[in-house]
Amino acid sequence: METGEDRIEAAVEVRRLTKIYRAAFQHEVKALDGLDMKVPRGEIFGLLGPNGAGKTTLVKVLLDICRPTAGETFLLGTDSRKTRSRRAVGYLPEDHRFPGYLTGAAAMDLYGALSGLPRRERRRRGAEALDRVGLSKWARVKTRKYSKGMKQRLGIAQALFHDPDVLLLDEPTDGVDPVGRKAIRDLLLEFHDRGKTILINSHLLLEVELICRDVAIMNHGRILKRGGVEALTRTGSRYRVRVGGDLFSAMGVVQAQAGEAEREGDAVLFPAADDAALDAVTAALGAAGHPIREISPVRMSLEELFIDVLGSPGDEDGGREEEP
C-alpha cells in the first residue's frame, strides 16, 4: 500500500492510466493502455517512442488537457485533475502556437499572469527569461514575425520563467539550430542542477541521450523498456581498447587472449565475460609492448536501443513489453 508521502516523493506519477479516444463514426483509438510510471523528483527523464506511441497524450493527461478514460495521475503528489496541481509546472507543447498579436514580452506577461505571478515579477522574470533564450532584442516584436527556432526558444522561456518545480517538454529542440540546441541543453541542465524535475518527449534521441539520465521507451500506450541511459545502452561484455604500437600486432594479442578481436578505426573490440578476463587481456597487451591509452565498455547508442526495443518497422506488434 502506497502512502501519501511516497506520492509526494514522485514528481510525476501515473497509475493504470488508460486513454481511449472516441469519435462519432470512427474507430476507437487506445492511446494509453493501463500505464504505470513514476518520475522521482530531481530527475531528467526522457520519454521515447514512435509517432502515436502515446507520449503526448500522457503529458496532456498529466496537465488535464486530456481527460483519462481510467486510472490516476499525480503531479508533485496532487491529483492532476485539480487546477492547483499545475501551479508548479512548466510546459512546452509540441507545435505550440503563440498568438501572433502578442509580442514576446506580452506573451510572457499573459502566461505569467495565468501562472499567478504579480505584475512586477512578471516583468522582471519575463525580461530575464527572454534574455536567457537570446530573445531580449525581440521582446517588443510580435511573435508572428518570429522564426520557428525563435518561437521554440520563446516556448522554453514561457515554460521556465515562473520557476516551476516540474518541467514537461514536448520536442524542446525541434526546429532549433545546433547553437540554439546547445543553449537550451545548458539551460535545462542548469534548471536541473537546482533540483528541478524535467520530463522530455522527443524524437531526437541524441538530444535525449545528452541530457537525460533515465528514459522510458513507449509504444501503443505502454512502456516497453525503462531505466538509466547508461545501464540500458551498455552491451554488457564487449570492450574497446586503444593501444600504442602496431595495431595488427595488438589485435593478434587480443585474439589470442580473448578468443575474438575486431578492428574499429584505431581501436580493437573484444569480449570479456568478467573483470578477470578483462585484466588478462590488458596484462597481455602490456606484456607485448602495447601501452593502453584508453579502454571502455562498448555501448549501443540510444537510437540502436530504440530500434532494438521497438523492432524493425515491419514488426506488427511494435515491440515487446519488458517483463516486470
Partner: protein
C-alpha cells in the same frame, strides 16, 4: 482575478491587432461629428400654431364612428393674435353639436393602423368625443399632442373658441423649428414633427439601427475569432497548462468580447450624444443608457457564438450561428406580437397550436425586439409624452421590460453555462 483580467486584456490586444477597433472608433468619430452638425432653427410660433390646423388631416387623426362619419367637422381659423408672448387663436366650427369622433389609446391606434384601418377593436381606452364639449376636449388633446403648452381653450361665442397658449419651448412644439444639417448649410422643414420628435427619431436610428443592428453584426464578425483562435491546437495547450480553471478561461474570453462591444458602443453612443447635445442644445442623458441595451443584446448573440466555438472550433459557424439565432429571435418576437394582435385574432382564427408554440418560444428565447423598444424608453426618461408621436408611444405599450431583461439574462447565463460545461469536458 489576475488571470481573469489578463485574459480580458488579451482579448483587447487581439481586437486592437485586427485594426477593427480603430476602424470602429473612426466610424464613431464620424457619426459624432455628423451629430454635432445637426441643429435646429427657430420658426415663427404663429406659423407653427396655424400649421396644426392647416397640415392636419383631421379625418386621419381621429377615427370617425361609421354611422356618423359624414358629420365630422373641420374647425376653421378666424384670427391669430400675439400679446406679450401669448398667442390667441380664434376658431369656429359650422356645427359643433354634429361633432362625433373618437380617439383611441396608442396601442389600439397602432393596431388599427397596422391592420390597414379596416376595423377598430373595442377597447376600454376608447374616448368618444361628441358634441360641442367633445369637440373642445378633442381640440385640447390634439394641440397638447402637438406640444402647445400651457394651453387654455375658452368658448367666446356661438360656435367660436379662443385658444390661448404661450410661445414656450419651441423644441417641443410641432413645426416650431426647422432642422439643419452640416452646421446650418442644409435646412429641412419638420412639418408636423417637433424638434424633440426628430431628436428621438435620430437617436433611435443611431441606437437601434446603426449601433444595435449594423454595429452588432460587425461585432459578431470581429469577436467570432476570439474563441476559435483560443481553442486552436498549440494555443489552447499553453493556456490549459496553467493553474486556471477552464470555465474561467471561457468566461474571461466571453467577457472580453463583451467589453470590446461595450467600449465601442460607449464611444459611439457617447460621441453621438455629445455631438447632438452640443449641436441641438437638447440634453437627454437617457440616450446614454442605450449602451447597456446594446451590450445586453450583444451578450445574447455572443453567447451563441461562444457555444458554437466550443462545439465546432470554426470561425464561420461562430459568425453564422449567432446571426441565424438573432433572426430566429426576431421572428419569434414578431410572431408573438402577431398572434397576440386582437385585430388579427378577430379577423382570422389562428390554430391554437401555432399560438402555443410561438408563446413557448417567446418565453424560451431572449426578447431581442423588446430590448430595442427599451432604448425608446431610455431615450424618453424624465420626459412626458407631449410632442411625442402617438405611434411611438403605442409600440411601448404592454411590454414587460423587466421580464424581457430577466429572461434574456437567464438565457444568456444558461448558454454560457452549457458552453463552459462542454469546454470543461472537452479533450484538446
Amino acid at each position: 482575478m489576475r488571470a481573469f483580467l489578463a485574459l480580458i486584456k488579451d482579448s483587447f490586444r487581439e481586437s486592437l491587432d485586427s485594426k477593427v477597433f480603430y476602424l470602429l472608433a473612426a466610424g464613431s468619430l464620424l457619426f459624432s461629428i455628423a451629430s454635432l452638425s445637426v441643429g435646429f432653427r427657430k420658426r415663427p410660433f404663429d406659423e407653427a400654431l396655424l400649421g396644426v390646423f392647416e397640415k392636419t388631416d383631421w379625418r386621419s387623426i381621429h377615427v370617425s364612428l361609421p354611422e356618423t362619419s359624414e358629420n365630422v367637422i373641420v374647425p376653421e381659423v378666424r384670427s391669430l393674435e400675439e400679446q406679450a408672448g401669448t398667442f390667441t387663436l380664434v376658431l369656429s366650427a359650422p356645427d359643433a353639436d354634429a361633432f362625433n369622433a373618437r380617439t383611441v389609446s396608442p396601442g389600439d391606434l397602432a393596431r388599427f393602423l397596422s391592420d390597414g384601418g379596416s376595423e377598430l377593436p373595442a377597447s376600454d381606452e376608447l374616448m368618444i368625443h361628441r358634441g360641442e364639449k367633445g369637440f373642445r376636449r378633442y381640440l385640447h388633446l390634439r394641440l397638447r399632442q402637438a406640444g402647445f403648452l400651457p394651453l387654455k381653450i375658452e368658448k367666446t361665442g356661438a360656435m367660436r373658441w379662443a385658444v390661448r397658449c404661450e410661445a414656450s419651448d419651441p423644441f417641443r412644439i410641432a413645426g416650431a423649428q426647422s432642422l439643419t444639417f452640416l452646421f446650418g448649410l442644409v435646412e429641412v422643414g419638420l412639418g408636423g414633427y417637433s424638434g424633440r420628435n426628430v431628436v428621438l427619431i435620430l437617436q433611435s436610428l443611431l441606437a437601434n439601427q446603426i449601433a444595435g443592428w449594423a454595429g452588432i453584426l460587425v461585432a459578431i464578425v470581429v469577436t467570432a475569432w476570439f474563441l476559435p483562435n483560443l481553442l486552436r491546437k498549440g494555443s489552447i495547450d499553453l493556456l490549459l497548462a496553467r493553474p486556471v480553471s477552464r470555465f474561467l478561461l471561457l468566461l474571461a474570453r466571453y467577457l472580453g468580447g463583451l467589453s470590446f462591444v461595450f467600449l465601442n458602443a460607449a464611444l459611439f453612443i457617447g460621441g453621438t450624444w455629445l455631438g447632438m447635445t452640443l449641436g441641438t442644445g437638447f440634453v437627454q442623458p437617457g440616450y446614454l443608457l442605450t449602451v447597456v441595451t446594446i451590450t445586453l443584446l450583444f451578450a445574447i448573440v455572443y453567447s451563441i457564438s461562444c457555444l458554437t466555438a466550443v462545439l465546432f472550433r470554426n470561425v464561420v459557424i461562430s459568425v453564422l450561428a449567432p446571426v441565424a439565432f438573432w433572426f430566429l429571435c426576431y421572428l419569434v418576437n414578431t410572431g408573438k406580437a402577431t398572434v397576440d394582435n386582437p385585430v388579427l385574432n378577430a379577423m382570422v382564427s389562428l390554430p391554437p397550436a401555432l399560438k402555443k408554440i410561438t408563446t413557448a418560444l417567446y418565453y424560451l428565447l431572449p426578447s431581442t425586439t423588446d430590448l430595442g423598444k427599451l432604448n425608446q424608453v431610455f431615450m424618453r426618461l424624465g420626459e412626458g409624452n407631449e410632442g411625442v408621436m402617438l405611434v411611438q408611444q403605442a409600440s411601448l405599450e404592454n411590454v414587460d421590460f423587466a421580464g424581457s431583461i430577466l429572461s434574456s439574462l437567464l438565457f444568456t447565463a444558461v448558454v454560457v453555462g452549457i458552453a463552459g460545461w462542454l469546454f470543461h469536458r472537452k479533450d484538446f
